[in-house]
Symmetry: C2
Subunit: 232 residues, 2 copies
Amino acid sequence: MSSCQTCVVRNRAICSALSDAELDALNRMGRRIAIGRGETLIWEGDESALVANVIEGVLKLSTSTADGREQIVGVVYPSDFIGRPFGDTTQHSVTALSDAQLCLFTRPSFDSFAREYPQLQHKLLERTLTELDRARGWMLLLGRKSASERVATFLLDMARRLAETSCSGADLHERFDLPLTRQQMADLLGLTIETVSRQLTRLRQAGIIDLPDRRAVVILDRAAMEAEAGNG
Amino acid sequence: MSSCQTCVVRNRAICSALSDAELDALNRMGRRIAIGRGETLIWEGDESALVANVIEGVLKLSTSTADGREQIVGVVYPSDFIGRPFGDTTQHSVTALSDAQLCLFTRPSFDSFAREYPQLQHKLLERTLTELDRARGWMLLLGRKSASERVATFLLDMARRLAETSCSGADLHERFDLPLTRQQMADLLGLTIETVSRQLTRLRQAGIIDLPDRRAVVILDRAAMEAEAGNG
DNA sequence: CGAAAGGTTGAGTGCTGTCAACGTCCGTGG
DNA sequence: CCACGGACGTTGACAGCACTCAACCTTTCG
């Protein structure tokens, strides 16, 4: 069994609220699993049975209309928490965008453990409040921004979040690899794949970004990107 | 000083986690205030200084782009909690849509009180998780639904939430008064005022709803509304 | 090599936004 | 009481941005 002591997200995930001894107790309830790119761990509308910490990889949270239109409602990175504690249904699916490692718990056991450790609930509350702020910020993008603003905002957001997750500190990461396909970007931005592609091409032709390959992005002119994003 | 014992939201707000004695302690830190329709209590981007429970009235949470496009990111009702505890800035404005009564706390005092009462934090966590689910559900509407689906979804959602808030129990409330103007509906749905107006007119002409006056809505054909909303 | 998945580009359409005029409601003050 | 003004709402004409449909290109992998 892997030890929480050596876990790479030990000090960033909600586990950071716990002492080593408390963590041992939590560890006994959970297990570490690997899931492959494209695998879905939790399905929209299902009874909430699982929660987890992300150790490695990137996952999407998504919902769909009855006729199959999809919206990605969140993207989670290492140290993020997934699943719906303290509730009986999960409102969105959770699917791996890359191969991923999770620290998995059954919801009932997590719920009862959390009730006994207020510091753990406090960490979870802080995280949930931050996620709520993020979701509401995204509502502004979906409701009010143009396609070009959406794509630019997305690229800046992705650059920032990948920089936070990686260990290279304050590096602004002007180059990074997208963890999403064009279709997934479209599903996140409330656009079609063609519109995303056209906006990326436009930014490239304007000399604002470079696209060395289908996954890589280089931000050449950050000021112009900020302007495209409509901040300022 | 008004007593929490007789507060109309005593058993529905996060206060329900507290005993009468604990509530007295909380009560000593807070104060009850009235704010008028249109008044803004908290401004987007400001330092988070206040939190509150809604006792009476309806308020909106909103954000704007630099050039003034607005998106309403939440609508809160009696017993809901507003403000951003455990964080230094508020990401959205809070404005009264009707005259309202609030139970107000300064954030530092609320934060430190909450840290001492895990049951209170637990209630707040449950509420925040529910709000996050709701916000993510709204992202599907903003990103993927047509104008007619948005308006129909909104009307059904409003009917349901007003029924929950009012005391008439399981009554489906086929008639209700909108707490929002057409402009506010547009800002919530990511549409323009003209599109909202046209969709309402269309629903009325189709015999699905009636609009007795500018604030009232009567749902005449709930099945047709569900179909319009794209849930089926 | 061939097939499938992912991505780009082009042509045309349509939904929703923009601009504008007009209608309705309501409070205020003469 | 009535006239007036302003906020709110509706309707129409038109335009444009993003979607749809389609062809084609690139990369990957068996």
